[in-house]
């Protein structure tokens, strides 16, 4: 019966929509609860510092190395294209704007999600699966304040710094390739870059993006961990979900932010 099949299909769409909405609602309440419990996490700064160590310091290597390579590739590819139009001197502009506006926040966000976000989810999920969160609650210690909030804020603090380091190393990598390897003029490289990159329009907006991505990744990571099914499969699928959801949300949010930020520039 085709009609029946259609009805069943529509019902499935409805059920999925409701499930997604319910989850979003739950995530929003969770977000509010984490923010509500944050003052306790700040009062004991040591807890948050520890999470900055795990989220930020341990992500340093991947961020620095990736940033450097991305910058070097950008310089090679950019030079190849710019050279055709005799605009070699604009290489610094191309690299700096790509990194500061887009690649820095976005790629650092993606790397951060897969390095630190997944680790946060796995850690919290494992604590849940082994009753550590329940044990904490039975000891009259709120896991939201003791476990979740410090990780959340550790991620938010780490992410903009990592994005800035990514962009910086990218510019450095591009300088290595462009100036040291290809032999472009050092003065033109930096001079044109400085003339074209604006502090408010480019640097500040890029920074805002990286803060937003930090909030997104941290929230998804702690939420998925806290919400994970308390089993081995539950934790592993929650970890996967963290990476996938973070990547999609970062890219979507990046589009929205870009529309608002760079509207009217160059148009």
């Amino acid at each position: 019966m085709p009609a029946e099949r259609v009805v069943r299909g529509v019902r499935k769409v409805g059920a999925t929509t409701l499930a997604i909405l319910q989850r979003l609602g739950f995530a929003t309440r969770f977000f509010a609860a984490v923010v509500w419990h944050s003052p306790q996490a700040f009062r004991r700064l040591q807890l948050t510092l520890r999470e900055i160590y795990f989220a930020g310091v341990l992500s340093l290597v991947i961020i620095l190395v990736s940033g450097m390579f991305v910058g070097m590739v950008l310089a090679l590819q950019g030079y190849d294209v710019l050279n055709r139009y005799g605009a070699n001197d604009s290489l610094g502009i191309l690299v700096a704007l790509s990194l500061v506006r887009e690649l820095g926040p976005v790629v650092a966000g993606l790397l951060f999600a897969s390095r630190a976000g997944s680790a946060i989810t796995a850690e919290i999920g494992l604590m849940k699966a082994t009753d550590q969160l329940a044990a904490m609650e039975m000891m009259a210690v709120d896991p939201l304040a003791r476990v979740v909030a410090p990780r959340f804020w550790g991620g938010i603090v780490s992410m903009p710094l990592l994005a800035a380091l990514f962009s910086t190393l990218g510019v450095f990598g591009a300088w290595l390739v462009g100036v040291k390897l290809i032999g472009l003029d050092n003065g033109a490289f930096w001079g044109n870059m400085q003339a074209a990159v604006d502090f408010r329009e480019d640097i500040v907006n890029g920074f805002i993006k990286s803060v937003v991505f930090g909030v997104i990744v941290s929230l998804i990571a702690v939420f998925e961990g806290y919400d994970a099914k308390p089993t081995a499969e539950g934790v592993s699928s929650a970890t996967t979900r963290t990476v996938v959801e973070s990547a999609l949300t970062i890219l979507a949010a990046d589009f929205v932010l870009t529309v608002f930020m760079f509207r009217g520039v160059g148009v």
């Binding site: 604590m127 082994t130 550590q132 329940a134 044990a135 000891m139 009259a140 210690v141 003791r146």
Partner: protein, 280 residues
């Protein structure tokens, strides 16, 4: 060991002879009913075992007493306070006086043994570091693991982990300690050690203990009273001597480990003939 000052201490510890009282407690998720009217009194200073098969609602009883679940109906009174009516602060104040040992210990894997035991003290007291150090080493000494203070939980055997969790459960000198399957997965020696520790801690610190377990022989050695739970009800109970002498079919099945009896071997199903007639 009169240490670890707690602001809530004064409100408990007085008057009531029973540490925990449950009457007419029912509980369930959605359509599934798990507890169908539990009456239970746990006198102060005693070790009481709650026994039953897997999945019969034993752990649920502990969660109700600890306030992480709310009953559908019935009264739960711990140290004179009605648990379901407590607000968050009241509940947390009560929980500071309750220790709990989770199944498999639930030690914090990122902290050392020392820090695990120190955790409740650091969270709830303003004691200086030296005082905490002395207290923690005393607790660890009581469970015989002072030497393991700097190990990580992953480096401990199952029995040692259980003992550390025990030390953590009594860190703040609680008035009530709940044990969720303290014997699960232990070898006979560790099992005996943990059993003896439960008894010794109870008597030395003057606490009340509730042990949820399906290990009937170990329980008979250490407890003052046993309750048997099956399908959401208390089906039998008594002192260890009464239980040993009991002719109750459920208790007998539990003691003898018979595969069939009041707890059936077969999951509820249609009659066998009907099943095969249909299949053809």
């Amino acid at each position: 060991m009169k240490t670890a000052p707690s602001p809530a201490a004064a409100t408990f510890d007085t008057r009531c002879a029973n540490a925990v009282e449950l009457s007419g407690v029912t509980f369930g998720y959605d359509r599934r009913t798990i507890l169908k009217g539990i009456d239970m009194t746990i006198p102060r200073g005693k070790v009481v075992a709650i026994m039953g098969g897997s999945g019969c609602g034993k752990t649920t009883i502990l969660r109700l007493i600890g306030g992480s679940l709310r009953p559908r109906s019935g009264r739960i009174v711990v140290a004179g306070q009605s648990v379901p009516q407590l607000d968050r602060d009241g509940l947390y104040a009560l929980r500071r006086r309750i220790g709990m040992l989770f199944q498999f210990g639930a030690l914090f894997t990122d902290l050392t043994v020392f820090e695990n035991v120190a955790f409740p003290m650091r969270e709830h007291t303003d004691l200086p570091d030296e005082a905490i150090r002395d207290l923690v080493l005393m607790k660890l000494n009581a469970v015989g693991l002072r030497g393991a203070a700097q190990l990580k939980p992953a480096e401990l055997s199952g029995g040692m982990g259980r003992r550390v969790a025990l030390a953590r459960a009594v860190a703040l000198d609680p008035m009530l300690v709940m044990y969720d399957e303290p014997f699960a997965g232990l070898d006979p020696i560790s099992l005996g050690v943990v059993g003896q520790l439960i008894r010794r801690m109870n008597d030395a610190l003057g606490i009340t203990s509730i042990v949820v377990t399906h290990d009937v022989y170990e329980s008979l050695k250490i407890v003052d009273h046993l309750y048997f739970v099956s399908e959401g009800r208390i089906v039998a109970g008594g002192t260890p001597d009464e239980v040993r002498a009991s002719s109750d079919p459920f208790v007998r099945q539990f003691l003898d480990g018979a595969p069939d009896g009041p707890v059936p071997f077969h999951y509820a199903a249609r009659p066998l003939e009907q099943e095969f007639v249909r299949a053809r």
